[in-house]
Assembly symmetry: C2
Homo-oligomer: 324 residues x 2
Amino acid sequence: VHLVSIADISDAAERIRHAVVRTPLLPCPWADPSRPLWLKPENLQPIGAFKLRGATNAVARLDDSARKRGVVTYSSGNHAQAVAYAARAVGIQAHIVMPDVTPQIKIDRTREYGAQVVLVPIAERESAAEEIVEKTGRVLVPPFDHPDVIAGQGTAGLEIGSDLPNVELVLIPVSGGGLAAGIGTAIRALCPNATVFGVEPELAADAREGLLAGTLADWPIERRARTIADGLRSQPSELTFAHLRAVLDGIVTVSEEEIRSGMAVLVHKGRLVAEPSGAVALAAYLDHADELPAGRTVVVVSGGNVDPALLADVLGERDAGVPQ
Amino acid sequence: VHLVSIADISDAAERIRHAVVRTPLLPCPWADPSRPLWLKPENLQPIGAFKLRGATNAVARLDDSARKRGVVTYSSGNHAQAVAYAARAVGIQAHIVMPDVTPQIKIDRTREYGAQVVLVPIAERESAAEEIVEKTGRVLVPPFDHPDVIAGQGTAGLEIGSDLPNVELVLIPVSGGGLAAGIGTAIRALCPNATVFGVEPELAADAREGLLAGTLADWPIERRARTIADGLRSQPSELTFAHLRAVLDGIVTVSEEEIRSGMAVLVHKGRLVAEPSGAVALAAYLDHADELPAGRTVVVVSGGNVDPALLADVLGERDAGVPQ
């Protein structure tokens, strides 16, 4: 397969510059001094997640004929909002297929961005999207399995490499692998001495199993759906897996309890609201230091679209227990 | 009195560039379309508040003799952390006088930054700081009543003017007035057509009363201390008041309930944790539209150092009620 290059990512950065937030790196004085920490707060993108980068790049690459026909995608949430937002920004129609277990907040927001939402059982989402493509001629913008999407997500890595050229470790959540593929590619090119780790929930660690085996692992969706991190229930495609093999030094897994604890630390010390998927990389930093190299570390906070009830639960349960 | 100029603010920006976060403007797709909204998230500074800008600028301006003697300040919290952090960053000693009603989290963090903390009754904080100056020769870095501090805070306004030159309304919390003085000065210079409003809690609206009367108003500290916004209990000095008269178009006041509601919206829609003082400007935008001009609006989120119990309380009470 053909891998996305740093030039593709630089081109994407120029293309999406006016539509996404150039997020800063946030230094964390509360972190372990032997492992200075910066957060990359992608939860602060207008739709609350990094997905806007890839969707905006993919939409910007459509030709006039495709723009007239509109776009379609399937997603557990953040990519849905990203495509809806990116399509509306340039005045084209969007059709979004979502699993019927998607948190209501993500469904509502996708509709608010003007997209037409179709709810289906989680296992049918890809086929339902393909059916719409056949019937309507709309163009599929996949959540991760496309070079334009990977290059768009990689722009976050370009920013990390530019803001902290001597970074030593980058921790990135892994689901379908588009974010880790893109950021990893950028870091490899810009910071050749840095180590790049993916992070997965223990309950959806298919990518880790695949990387160790050297071939894609396939976990049934019911198994992956156990994790609270609803944004990390996809698994890599051939394309993203080839990138992950090329750019990752390894994958660390975190427990459900560690994810919840990471969310609380982000709120209380980072002043950031993360969804569970957005807290896994910090959880790895906090609870798996022994599996990681020391040194200047960047943690990617990938998204912040969390149900208010879950957030209140996470904060309430550790109100007394979190160190200040 | 001599007012801080845009050149002073530009100089400060150069001086503090490597020590503070250049915060982005965050577009808010959930806002009123007729009043497009951007957040300026100063809660994401390493100490959790804008105060790092002014403190860093003031410390950078000390001569060698003053650096050897060290610095002292009094503060209800965020300025304390800012001076402690800024002093440690350049290796000088800091002594911080804090009111004994300061939230424990702010006391602990100030100590963590290596400063020596002295707790006194709130009415005695200025005299206690002056006593330390006399006894130890340390240099006082006041929380707002100093041109270097005002110029430092103004760098946030420089960034707003640079990122959104056609901004039409800027909303800034007002306590001692350093932040509003600095940002207002920058906006007046860079965006002459913009309107600049201060925001105060109804329960600590001394600056509004003073501006309407054309002379400083003096509210007893017991009266100002009623508000939940513990960072907004100071009142302007002659110096900051002269700036506020020159740069503000008015001051809007918000209720305690509106402040709590603003905090919840920042968490649920902005994915940002704000302390009560940091939420007043958004509260004005949300609940006082009829007192404000329409158009492109920037809300300054000034800080995020909130007690976990208060945050859990605010989120818990409106878990069911907040619109998604």
